[in-house]
Subunit: 440 residues, 2 copies
């Protein structure tokens, strides 16, 4: 009997994180971390569901949820087997739909909506195959992986043939790397010490704890006030010592010349990279900054809208670290394209995480990269922020400065049922009870 | 007594244009031209309303409308006088709102929503002052104009001081140019002959009519099939003769190398510019194409998401013509920034129009540019498409290949009340009556 996709339900889930100033930076003073969450159901006897989400920081999460709902006709009613067998085709159908495309193209709310749906379909596929997503991907042949990618607008930087060659080169050693991953995990760095809203004592304490916990890299938010940044970087450097890498993150605060001048002022504290020094749309600006502040490196990606912008950041040599995001570009398929581009240009991928559930997602992408694409963890670290993991059924496990490889089937994307009830906006008890200020 | 903004109402308006293949091109085979329409009301005694809209091509117009609705708290309740007196501040409040910003930043659905609201506020301001928007803007001092612009992320290309110098240089002759505009209008070109869905006989007939009507430039859609394009360009060139400019428009269909090869095949027909040869996000790609196909020129802009991407297109010399869009970037204020950038780099602005109401809006921007910014109409033409103007209270008037300068107060953005009823989606009679296929 043929089985079908029978339902697509969206949830507006918001956490009142602004009350604690977790996640505060130079551009985002009071985020309420939120998820426009999607659940895809089928009429298969296994009862399995695909879960996915777009991450936002509060207001507008309803708009993001509406965009996911608008994708229902593209998903519901599809034959389940053939859909699961060709997720590349589903991706192209949604991304290249001429009418939806006008709303981007391939950027912003509509692209993030496609991301949520594509990732939910991957979650479902992995659950059905009884594997975590990273392993599911890493077990595909190079030909199958290339099939998942849309090379439109990329062929001046990477062709399908070049992608195939990269993947074939990485075939040797796949089994050893998989075993190593299951044994020792994947290196992480922590952003938890460095939020702008924290006072110096809290910064010092969290730096000390990060080193004790085994992290080799931490990250500090910068960009609001230069004197504050100098003081905080001095505290951090003196606390962690010379051998721990300290990344700094300006969250798009600066114009090009300000970025250059500001980073030079901080260079004495040996920052490993500066992240998002200016607009994520400014490829040339990033390249100019990178040339001016070397040997400090530039990293960006959490707000890079799609593979076409990543392509240009690589073509211009603007970034030394590529920070893909699991839920801003259009999901797994587009991130495979981005991993292949990074491999072609020899740039390490260090994913953006944090927020709600982004750690849960990106670990799968980095682990797939290690086993089947780049074949390396050199200079590669996954961001780790210790927020909101308790809301997930299969939360990340980070210990000794490493992400443990997930073993449960799926994309680690499934939120606990009581979270979907309690944090529903605006009707859930967390929001409708008195005392919380509205996020809307 | 203080007056306030008291209401923001949105309408999902769709026209079943796909039935006639008007608007068909290589990427958009069956658009249903649509507007996510907004009406801003006040408690002022004059009863004036501000009207604005985002243009989409069908599916997803509901998502666009939801994004506009999400802006209601930023507008309703504001003091009317102080809001009208500082539209630059309102722009910054919405564009830089940290939570909404996460949904872009400054791109896609949320940015287009801000565009609709900002333009509606300009419509209201112009109606209150009894002037068309172009004249309202052209009567401001250089200092007042610079105040409207946010220079964030632009200062490596243009500073407020440079902008002021450009505007001061254009102060001489403002009155003469305004008089000339009212007398002879602004040059137009027509896209009506060139839609891909039209047969050769219709193409030939429309080319002949365009010349007879006084147009000096026409545009043909290309990019679906090379042999077809060669045949259609041959027909067009032989019909219009050597002195009429023929622009070609690929609507983002090609990768970089395909664009170069394809345009070289068409070069024999002397195309004036090639529009949207590849992804609107690919600044470097456009620059590569421009170098390879010279002397054919590159034009783009209708899908360029914001001023930061326009900045780079200018910095790299990728475009010879800048095609701003009135309702994709964040409205009048951002388009003033773009006009200033273009003037700084000496690149003529030839706005994108067509769709629903885009001709009505962009005429104001080009006329303001002529009077107060660039001071020139040389090599400048506004796109004209003869679609759907009958739905507007103050439609464009094009004759003799020129746009007549609008004289009615406002932004020419107000749709006829019966249009808002008849074409409401999905409940209006045009859609709920049998025989129309659903756009959703």
């Amino acid at each position: 009997m043929r089985t079908r996709i029978t339902g697509l339900a969206t949830h507006d889930i918001r956490f009142p994180t602004s009350l604690e100033l977790d996640g505060s930076d130079a551009m985002n003073p009071d985020p309420d971390y939120s998820a426009a969450y999607v659940v895809i159901t089928t009429d298969a006897a296994d009862g399995l569901e695909g879960h996915g989400f777009a991450f936002t920081i509060g207001r507008g999460n309803d708009v993001q949820a509406a965009a996911i709902t608008a994708l229902e006709p593209y998903v519901v009613g599809r034959d389940l087997e053939s859909t699961m067998d060709d997720l590349g085709a589903v991706w192209k159908e949604m991304v290249h739909d001429s009418q939806l495309r006008w709303l981007g193209p391939e950027k912003g709310v509509m692209h993030m909506a496609i991301s949520a749906v594509v990732n939910a379909l991957w979650d479902l596929k992995a659950k059905r195959e009884g594997k975590p997503v990273w392993e599911l991907l890493a077990d595909l042949t190079p030909e199958q992986i290339v099939e998942l990618v849309d090379f439109r607008y990329l062929t001046d930087a990477i062709t399908p043939g070049e992608a195939l060659a990269i993947l074939r080169r990485a075939e040797a050693g796949r089994a050893e790397r998989k075993a190593e991953l299951l044994n020792t995990g994947y290196p992480a760095y922590t952003t938890s010490p460095g939020w702008l809203g924290y006072d110096d004592a809290k910064l010092r304490k969290l730096c000390r704890e990060a080193v004790a916990e085994g992290f080799k890299q931490i990250k500090l938010k910068v960009g609001a006030d230069l004197e504050d940044d100098i003081r905080r970087l001095r505290i951090a450097r003196s606390t962690v010592g010379p051998d721990i890498r300290i990344a700094i993150d300006a969250n798009q605060r600066w114009d090009v010349s300000t970025a250059i001048a500001w980073v030079r002022e901080l260079a004495a504290f040996d920052p490993w990279w500066v992240e998002e020094p200016t607009s994520p749309d400014d490829v040339l600006g990033h390249a100019t900054i990178a040339r001016a502040i070397a040997p400090v490196r530039v990293a960006t990606g959490e707000h890079v809208q799609n593979r076409v912008v990543f392509k240009q950041l690589l073509q211009t040599g603007a970034i030394s670290y590529l920070q893909l995001d699991a839920a801003r570009v259009a999901g797994v398929n587009e991130n495979i394209a981005i991993l292949l581009l990074a491999a072609k240009f020899g740039v390490p991928v260090c994913p953006h995480a944090g927020g709600v559930g982004l750690c849960e997602l990106v670990q799968h992408l980095s682990m797939f990269d290690y086993v089947a694409v780049s074949g390396s963890v050199e200079n590669r670290v996954i961001e780790y922020v210790d927020h909101l993991h308790e809301h997930f059924v299969d939360p990340v496990r980070v210990a000794g400065g490493h992400y443990a490889a997930p073993t449960a089937p799926g994309f680690s994307a499934t939120m606990r049922p009581d979270t979907l009830t309690r944090f529903a906006f605006p009707g859930g008890p967390v929001w409708s009870a008195g005392g919380r200020r509205s996020a809307s």
